[in-house]
Symmetry: C2
Subunit: 243 residues, 2 copies
Amino acid sequence: MPTKQFNHFLLQIPLFSGLSPETLKIFTDAIKTRKCTRGEALFLHEEDASFFYIITRGWVKLFRETLDGDEAIVDILTTRHMFGETAIFEDGTYPYSAETVSDAEILILPTSTLEMAAQTDNKVALNLLKTMSFYRKQQSSEIEHLTVQNAPQRIGCFLLRLCDPEAQGSITLHLPYDKMLIASRLGMKKETFSRALSRLKTDAGIKVHGGTITINDMQVMADYCCSACSSSFPCADLKSTSP
Amino acid sequence: MPTKQFNHFLLQIPLFSGLSPETLKIFTDAIKTRKCTRGEALFLHEEDASFFYIITRGWVKLFRETLDGDEAIVDILTTRHMFGETAIFEDGTYPYSAETVSDAEILILPTSTLEMAAQTDNKVALNLLKTMSFYRKQQSSEIEHLTVQNAPQRIGCFLLRLCDPEAQGSITLHLPYDKMLIASRLGMKKETFSRALSRLKTDAGIKVHGGTITINDMQVMADYCCSACSSSFPCADLKSTSP
DNA sequence: CGAGGGTTTGAAGTGCATCAAATAGTGTGG
DNA sequence: CCACACTATTTGATGCACTTCAAACCCTCG
């Protein structure tokens, strides 16, 4: 399994970057791969957490269910993202449920391996800190967005974070998953999403054809979305597809 | 300065728990204490982060300002809480501004000391991980609250987290800081806060006299607030006054 | 082609924000 | 100890954003 390509992939993941060959081997020896179709449950909220996961391909949603049956999206992740690892620092159960939202390929590792490695190899602990710090920053900016941005601005901000931050002027992208799912990811109803996206057509100059979206002018869009926010585009390090 | 009492205080802080005397000394040697009056700025968003802080007494608010001049509260912290330390994993600048909201006493430590210690003493890194994990969980539940709870429920939830989770039946508490500040902490306007608190009188059975609040029946309050949430009272580990 | 999920649109309702003004509370100097 | 200034809090009236409920539309895939 540890082909050259595979190792190259692993080294792109912050958790594994800069590790000694010995430590890296401990992880690679423990890795199992799983191919999933869309809609497979990986684990449930409050289940005992024996494994953590890394996505090699596809999208996974993390979510919780409220007592009255609604679903609250925690995050939606893709390639190179890791999840389920925080159970180590909790009571040993997952703080959310996880389910694929597209076909996907996923690496599975025992949490015990990670826990052990973090305790014996300082570099592992430092890498974990870096990863957790990234997610924390992302969460913190999400809290801000929820309180200061309205629906069209949140969508625009979401679209901008799908773009290459180097890009200038016009850019075309396609939505990574269902509009319905994006809606709940952004804390709004699907109808609100649909209407808010329409409003972006006139207010921020975008074109929509199904899941394909063209932003006529990144700068116009950025001005429209970030005016209510404490950090302006390109919101450094907050790309949804980063580590 | 390192009196017995002071050392006892330090050991209550998760970052310092279980450290070797040598490592602990590195920190205690570098600590400076500062007494603040209400309303003092400690540092500003995006300033170079040379120090991190631990509160020994009083309350501190972390916040960011949006481009159009609004203030978004990141968190409001008290005794034993630590802040400013995440700059280590960022670009070396603070991700928020900090200001006291009551008279306060604060410990100041160089971030370089922490950074060095985390790299040389694995226990420091592990303690940091534990702390960061706690904050991450708290943030994550806050995101959920913002999307699934309405204003009265968010206030009720806030009040419950001020209570002793062991308590049963009736309990009296007083608000730790301004209602205005609680309002923005919970992502609502002061008028909304005032009205929502009134509604809790009839809907969840509380009494309000200025900043003193009596919850007639914890269980009634919990039922009222947590119905929309994925975790019910006592939301383990989410007390606002914990580590 | 037809079924089913995803998406859009319309009409109506709710919750929170906004603007404005009154009231309560707090600290200050006389 | 009181009057004043200033801030915090409450209350009222109104508007907007988002939700809800309902129905139509669209697209894909068997």
